[in-house]
């Protein structure tokens, strides 16, 4: 089990960040998104290979309206 944006999520076996995004129907090529795993900011180029450990907290963010 991993926690994606606060929600318990079954990530499957040793999921990469790319796998997690696809599982949530987010195209990894989407512009304007970023991912942190356990409070470490990841690089887009790492998404196909960086695996998300069990119990990890994954934050997927994008720009929203704000002052």
């Amino acid at each position: 089990m991993i926690y994606v944006n606060g929600q318990p999520t079954d990530g499957g076996e040793n999921p990469t960040i790319r796998d997690v995004l696809l599982r949530l129907d987010i195209d990894p090529a989407t512009a304007g998104i970023a991912v942190a795993v356990d409070a470490e900011v990841t690089r887009r180029g790492e998404w196909p290979t960086l695996t998300v450990p069990d119990g990890a907290r994954v934050e997927i963010v994008t720009a929203t309206q704000g002052g």
Binding site: I33, A34, A39, Q65, G67
Partner: protein, 258 residues
């Protein structure tokens, strides 16, 4: 036309920055961007909602302006630094409007956390524009750690109370070696004009425009107010006096028969 503003080597023709928060409709935001002729608009970083992703950035890029991500919602230096780093990855900019808030009721900056975050982000290569209190000493400290501008509040975020302490804003302007951007508290055009008359280099508005009854008209009004304030500052206002000083000559007044 007023002189351009320079921040961290970048030239900005507009001295008005627009916050994108509070617009009820994205189409209105797009029209307001056009009406205020800004070049930078702030955005916040939040968890992805797959239903809405992309559209805000589309509206901004369609209008040909750049995003300035903020760290709104962060209460600690750690969270603000992480949020800035996420924004850099997501949006491809190393500029950040740094906000570290002390509490939800006032939304006032947490000065010690702000200073720590500013120093870390500068060291990490960011162009840091910190939202700060109207405190001349804190503004100086932020400049000393390498911030590219300082963004003192006029009054609390979204309050529309204008510039509560013009004397402190003046002190910040007098001491600053970096641009001063009046941030937060602007309620209407005259507040923006006053900021520029006090010597600020730019104004950032969000709620004053986005929550006005007619946001696009207010965007236009505040753009003109910023320009008017710059021109008035350059023109040199008259000194305030306690008593009247006639502008019509006192000699040659006609004396009428009883």
């Amino acid at each position: 036309m007023t002189a351009p503003l320079h921040i961290a080597g970048r030239e900005l023709r507009s001295r008005l920055l627009l916050g994108t928060g509070g617009f009820a409709r994205l189409a209105t935001l797009g029209d307001a961007i056009e009406a205020c002729e800004c070049e930078l608009v702030t955005v916040a970083m939040r968890r992805v909602d797959p239903a809405t992703q992309g559209s805000l950035l589309d509206v901004i890029s369609e209008r040909g302006v750049d995003v300035l991500p903020n760290t709104a919602g962060c209460f600690t230096a750690r969270d603000a630094v992480l949020t800035a780093q996420l924004a850099r990855e997501a949006l491809g900019t190393d500029w950040v409007k740094l906000e570290v808030i002390g509490d939800e009721r006032t939304l006032l900056p947490d000065a010690p956390e702000l200073l720590v975050a500013a120093e870390q982000l500068v060291d990490d290569g960011f162009v840091v524009l910190p939202y700060t209190n109207d405190d001349p000493v804190l503004a100086r400290r932020l400049q000393d750690v390498g911030c590219a501008a300082v963004m003192p509040l006029g009054s609390p975020i979204g309050s529309g109370m204008g510039i509560a302490n013009p004397a402190n804003i003046t002190l910040i302007v007098q001491a600053a070696g970096v641009p001063v951007i009046l941030d937060a508290g602007v309620g209407t055009a005259s507040d923006a004009a006053l900021a520029m008359e006090l010597g600020c280099d730019a104004v950032l508005c969000a709620s004053a425009i986005s929550r006005a009854a007619d946001p696009v008209a207010m965007a236009h009004a505040i753009r003109l107010a910023v320009e008017a304030g710059v021109l008035a500052r350059g023109a040199g206002r008259i000194a305030r006096r306690t008593h009247a000083r006639a502008s019509s000559p006192l000699q040659g007044v006609a004396e009428f028969a009883e």
